[in-house]
Symmetry: C3
C-alpha cells in the first residue's frame, strides 16, 4: 500500500518551496501519496501550525508520515526530529510544532535526524523542509528504520494549549484558533461543560476579552439563529465555538488567537 | 483503476478541514485518487460553487465521484445526498450545489444518505464534509452500492442560472461568474448569439448594469486589442465574456455575479 | 512507474481552470501523478512563473513532465511547444516561461504542438491549458513520441535574468524574486561573492534602489540577528538574499522584482 506523507507548512502556495519538497519526496519514494494539510499557516506561527496539524492528523490512516515545517529557527541549533507514535510518524523541527498532535497518539520514541545519508547532498541554511525533512519522510516511507536517522532523544519541545479553569459556576478559557469562517474555537471542551452542568440548548453568558457580554444559546446548528446573529456551538473538534450564522464572528469582535474567554450558565 | 474523488468546498486552505476530509477518505479507501477542484469558493455561496463544479466536472473521467461542500445549512434538516448521473456521482448537501453539474449529465437516481454505517462513528454538528460526505465518497469508491446509503429521493433542490432573453435585436443576460483574472462570464452562450445574427469579429454594444456603454469587438484572442482595453470573447465555457486584455474587467467596472447585461449588434 | 506531471499556472485556486486541467489529464492518462507546483503566479507574469518553475523543477524525478501556463498571448500566433531536456519535458506556450528551467537541464529538442489528434476535440480561444497543454502532457505520459505532436522547432523564446556585474569591489545585481516571507532574492549567486572576496560572516554594504544604505552581516541563520532586524544570507537557491528575521523585508523596503541592488564588502 502506498505510504501517505502529509505536508503542513507556512510557505504559502506561490513560492517554489512546496513544489520542491514534493519533488524531493517523489525522487526518493516515487510511490508516496503526498497530501497537503495546509501551507497557509500564519508565517512563523508554531502554535497555529500545531493546532491545524493536531486537528487533522487523527483522521489519517495508521502509518501516515506527517511533515510539519513552521521553522523560524531554521539554521540554528534547534534539532530536526522524527517522532514515532502509536499511530503515525511526525517529522520536522524540534520546536513544539509536532507535539500537540503526537502526544495525543502516545509517543513511542523520538529520534534526532543527524545522518547526512538521509539528507540532500547539500543542506541549505534556510530550507530544511526540502533538504532534511522531505528526504527523511521519503526514506522513512521507503522502510528505513527510524533508528538509522540518528540518536534517540530523551528531551524535546512540548507545546500545549492552556487548559480551561472552572471557578465556581464559571469556566475561564482561551481562544486556540480562529478559522477561515471566523468561527472562534476555544479550549473549552465539551466534557468540561457537562461538569459545570451546561449542556446543549442551554443559554450561556459569554465574555470575550470582556467585550461580548452576550447571552448565547448553545445551538445544534448554525441555522438555529437568524443570519448574522451570534451563537455558541460544539464544533467539529469537540470544543465550544463562538460563531455568527453565515457571518464572521472573529472579525466582528476583533478577536484573535490567545484571547481570553469566560462563560457561565445564565 | 484508482477511483477519482474530487473535492470542492468553501473551506479555504488554511484550516484543518480539507486535510481532515482527505484523511477520512484515505482511511476508508487507501487507493482513492483525491483531486482538489477548489476550496476557495466564496463562503456560503452555493451558486458560485455550483458554477465552478459544473465548469470543471465535464472534464473528469467517467465514474468520478465529486464531493461538494458549501453547506450553510449544516446540522439542520437539509438532507445529505448522492446523485448518480449517466457519467459520475455527486455527493453533498441537498441545497442545489450539485445539481447544475449533475443535471447536464443526466440524473439516474438520487439517494439520501441516512445509513450511519457509512458515516464516521461520531457525527458533529458543523462538519458533515468530514463526518458524512467524505466517508460516503470513500465507501462508494470501495464499491458499496448506492442503494445501501439510504432511501431513494424523488425530490431534491434544483439550482439553475437564468436563461438569456432575446428581445428584438437585443440579448439580455446575467453575469454568472467573475474569474480570478476579472473576466466577466455571462449566461449568453455562443449559440444564442448566432440566433440574433452576431458572430465573431462583429462589434456589439454592451450595457453592464447600464454602466459600460461601450462598443466591443468579439475577439478571437485577448491580444487583438491593446493591453488595458476592453473586449468581448467567447470564453472556455462557451459563454460570452467581457474582459480587458491583461487587465481586470470586473474590478474596473465594479461588476459582481448576478449583474445584468444587455448586448446588441451595432 | 507512474508518470509525474507538474502544473504551474497563474490561474489561482478558486476558478474551475486547474480542476479542468486535472480532469483532462486523468481522462487521458488515469495513472498520472499530478503535482501542483504553483497556481498563484502573479497574473501574466511570465518572469515570475519562470523563476518558480526553475527553482522547483530540479528537485523532481527524471522523466517528469512539467506543464506551465502563464499565457497572455493565448489565442494569438504564439506557438504551443514541448521541450525535451536531458532530464525532463516542458509543455506550455512559447513565451519564455519554460526556458529558464529547461536550458539548465540541457535542451535536446523542441517540438511545436500542431497535431490536433492530441488536443481536445474543441479548442477554445482562451484556455489552451485545458485544450492543448494538459492533453499533450497526458499523451506524452502515455508514451506518445514527442515527434508525433508536430514539427521540430529551431527557434524558440529564451527568457533569462540579467547576470550580476562586478565593478571594482562592488557587485551590481537585480532582484529576481520576492517570496511569501518577504525574502528578497537577488541574482547574485554565491560563487560570484567569492570572486570579490566576500564570504559568510562578512559584513557587506547593501544598496537597494539606493534605499537601504545598510551594513548587513552574511548570516548562517535568520536567528543570528534579533527578531525584526535585517540580514543577508545565502538562500536555498544559492543566491544572496536580503531578509528580516521573522519579518517581511520586501514590504519594509517596498522592493519589487526587477529592482537594482549593489553590494560591497565593508
Amino acid at each position: 500500500m502506498k505510504k501517505v506523507i502529509t505536508l503542513l507548512t507556512d510557505f504559502g502556495l506561490r513560492d517554489p518551496y512546496v513544489g520542491a519538497m514534493k519533488g524531493v519526496i517523489l525522487s526518493i519514494c516515487p510511490d508516496a501519496n503526498i497530501v497537503d494539510i495546509s501551507h497557509e499557516i500564519r508565517k512563523f506561527d508554531i502554535r497555529q501550525g500545531a493546532y491545524v496539524l493536531a486537528a487533522s492528523a487523527p483522521f489519517f490512516p495508521k502509518g501516515t508520515i506527517h511533515v510539519g515545517v513552521v521553522d523560524p529557527g531554521v539554521g540554528t541549533s534547534r534539532k530536526a526530529i522524527i517522532i514515532e507514535t502509536k499511530k503515525s510518524f511526525y517529522i520536522g523541527p524540534d520546536n513544539g510544532l509536532l507535539t500537540l498532535a503526537a502526544l495525543r497518539e502516545g509517543v513511542k520514541k523520538v529520534v534526532q535526524i543527524t545522518n547526512s545519508k538521509y539528507m540532500l547532498p547539500r543542506v541549505s541554511r534556510t530550507f530544511h523542509g526540502r533538504d532534511i525533512f522531505a528526504p527523511a519522510a521519503a526514506y522513512l516511507a521507503n522502510g528505513v528504520p527510524i533508528e538509522n536517522f540518528g540518536p534517540l532523544l530523551e528531551e524535546y519541545e512540548i507545546l500545549s494549549f492552556s487548559k480551561p479553569h472552572v471557578r465556581k459556576d464559571q469556566i475561564e478559557g482561551e481562544i486556540i484558533y480562529v478559522d477561515g469562517f471566523g468561527n472562534i474555537v476555544t479550549n473549552i471542551y465539551s466534557e468540561i461543560l457537562e461538569k459545570v452542568g451546561i449542556s446543549e440548548e442551554d443559554k450561556i453568558k459569554v465574555l470575550l476579552n470582556d467585550k461580548l457580554g452576550k447571552v448565547l444559546k448553545i445551538c445544534k446548528a448554525y441555522n438555529e439563529v437568524k443570519k448574522g446573529e451570534f451563537l455558541a456551538i460544539i464544533g467539529s473538534g469537540n470544543f465550544l465555538e463562538i460563531s455568527i450564522n453565515q457571518g464572521n464572528a472573529a472579525k466582528k469582535l476583533n478577536v484573535k488567537e490567545g484571547a481570553k474567554i469566560k462563560i457561565k450558565l445564565t
